[in-house]
Amino acid sequence: MNSEKKPLLAPGHTACAGCGQAIAARLVVDAAGPNTIIANSTGCLEVFTTKYPESAWEIPWIHSLFENSAAVASGIEAALRYLGKKETINVIAQGGDGGSADIGLQAISGMLERGQDILYVCYDNEAYMNTGVQRSGLTPFNSNTSTSPAGSVSYGNIRPKKPMPEIALAHGIPYVATATVAFVPDLQRKVKKALSIRGPKYIQVHVPCPLGWRHGPELTLEIAKAAVETGLYPIIEYENGSLIGVRKITPRPVEDYLKSQGRFRHLFKNPEEIKKIQDIANNNIQKYGLAAANQPSQ
């Protein structure tokens, strides 16, 4: 861990108190180290770190548009190859879930397919937080957002999360992983491992948003941990197409995760809707073999 050194994401940024993305972004850049260039999509992370005249970044960093960080990073990588500097400099493209799974998906697919030596990091806070908590392709089932509101005939978002890690994996890339702010050493190990592998890599980091998920800022890490331990956010790692590791859990009921978040509060009047979310968790537990030995899934 890089903790003795000056953090590469400086204080004074304007993220909300308890922002999960701020924690994860610093952990990622600190794990990557100073010889790193980052291309950042438009979104919370871009806005709260680089409001002119200030920047929180201590590494060379560029923001162009919402959907093109993977393509901008591709240009940077090509330029470094031309200059003969690619061997010594990491290139990271990063964005939120909307900038990655929705509007930026095409550019990411192009980047992954080209085989370029870039790590893409998706900070998944499960909605368009920068514009006021609108639903994205990574918003979970039954989540109450400003464009998938719960109402008299609605329980919120009608679809489960888009399977971005599987989509990345389908490109035949050498490394795909999920991670979370709740497990810091795991996240930083994955970033370092990804950067040690030549070619395109995809890491998706679960980052609670106190504002958008409507929880107390002190609960960021607790909620992130509950997402994993209920089976709702599987922590998985693929190398060369094979699942090489999962974070084993002793499954907790999904209510443990849902109860402290305003975006799921409406579900507690409708146990059958919570049951549907438990089914999603159970499927994850079975699919990825998340349950620790002698622990039956819920």
């Binding site: 100073p34 409001k51 002119y52 560029i62 591709s74 080209r114």
Partner: protein, 393 residues
């Protein structure tokens, strides 16, 4: 060396001589031949460049944005829908003051889909901050690519340049071209030394959020730089002339305007046709001339005023439209005379060659016939009124 070359291949040859380290493009008719030829150069080891194949024009523009930001001379080319798909990146590249050269193979915009030539694609992006040149023939197209890199990378300019060449007429036309010698290209265009770049030894942040306290000055600065381009271009083309022996004013070209009673104002390859008509009519004693606009951005309003202030009758040809208003070039030419002491008696506006409709010598003669009378606005030449009678019920 004089060679008989297709326009697209000539563009590829001059780009190769300019040595971009990164090329990224997405195929679109009629841009394809130039990027295919560049891909061949890279594949055969004749050009040391990273050729990045992408899944869209949006990414092509984003890739070269990234590579220029990383300090490497870069190139892309597109056309029509492709340029529109790039549009937000196009504004972004200029807004970030990144020097780049893009070839626009001018083509009409859908719907209806048309692969043929007019200027609606690049004209629609005239407000993007890019410098725009419209070329008449292949020699000029080749030379302006070289001039454009030099201009774009000037530390006082740092703006991208779009070289607009008419689709098919120029991209697929074949002419004898004096291809600039590579050693002379090297002397005219030194390696790119970026004023700023993404650099681990000087880790700056590019593209920060500018709130209302900061945004306006960035736009003002681009506008001021466009004024600087008007000053720099004549110097740059003089230097070009000393090295290569071909002279351009760089902003406009006057052809038999001094004593002319009627002058056509036009941009692009149609100027060749206009010159032929002028030669014919001059032989018959008619006092006609051409004012060719090469630089549309920055718009050389003062040069246009000086060239036309004593001309009695002016006809402006537009190959694009601002639907519901005056045609773009005509409205700006007219604006150049607003509040000035002198102006032509008549500045008439003609729309020609939309969607690849042939502009013949007869079309130009018709324009010259119509410019005699009272001022006309958005007068369509070679329109087929019978096609408007189609009924849907």
């Amino acid at each position: 060396m004089r060679e008989f070359l297709e326009g697209s291949l000539a563009v590829a040859r001059i780009i190769k001589a300019c040595k971009p380290g990164v090329i990224s493009a997405y195929p679109i008719t009629p841009q394809t031949h130039m990027v295919e030829e560049l891909a061949n150069f890279v594949a055969n080891g004749e050009l040391n460049s990273q050729f990045v194949n992408v899944e869209s024009e949006h990414s092509a523009a984003s890739v070269v944005l990234g590579s220029v930001a990383a300090g490497v001379r870069s190139y892309t080319a597109t056309s029509s829908q492709g340029l529109f798909y790039m549009a937000e990146v196009i504004f972004n590249i200029a807004g970030m003051r990144l020097p780049l050269v893009l070839t626009c193979a001018n083509r009409a915009i859908s719907a209806p889909i048309s692969i043929w030539n007019d200027h609606q694609d690049s004209i629609s992006l005239r407000d993007s901050g890019w410098i725009q040149f419209y070329t008449e023939n292949l020699q000029e197209t080749v030379d302006f690519h070289l001039i454009s890199y030099r201009l774009s990378e000037d530390k006082h300019i740092m703006l991208p340049v779009m070289v607009c060449m008419d689709g098919y007429t120029l991209t697929h036309g074949i002419e004898t071209i004096d291809m600039p010698d590579e050693a002379k290209v090297d002397s005219f265009l030194p390696p790119y030394k970026p004023l700023y770049k993404l650099d681990v030894d000087n880790p700056l942040s590019f593209g920060p959020l500018a709130d209302p306290d900061y945004y306006m000055e960035t736009r003002y600065a681009i506008h001021q730089t466009h004024k600087d381009v008007l000053e720099i271009m004549p110097k740059l083309t003089s230097e070009f002339s000393r090295v290569f022996g071909r002279h351009y004013n760089g902003l406009i070209e006057e052809y038999h305007t001094k004593d002319a009673e009627r002058v056509i104002v036009a941009m692009g390859s149609v100027c060749g046709t206009v010159k032929e008509v002028i030669d014919e009519l001059r032989a018959k004693g008619k006092k006609v001339g051409l004012l060719k606009i090469i630089a549309y951005r920055p718009f050389p309003a003062e040069a246009i005023y000086e060239a036309l202030k004593n001309i009695p009758k002016v006809a402006v040809l537009d190959r694009s439209l601002s639907l519901g208003s005056y045609a773009p070039v005509a409205s700006e030419v007219k604006a150049a005379f607003f509040g000035k002491k002198k102006r032509p008696e008549v500045i008439s506006s003609f729309v020609v060659g939309i969607g690849g409709r042939d502009i013949t010598k007869d079309s130009i003669k018709e324009v010259l016939r119509l410019v005699n009378g009272r001022e006309k606005s958005n007068e369509f030449i070679d329109l087929k009124p019978e096609l408007l009678k189609e009924e849907y019920e």
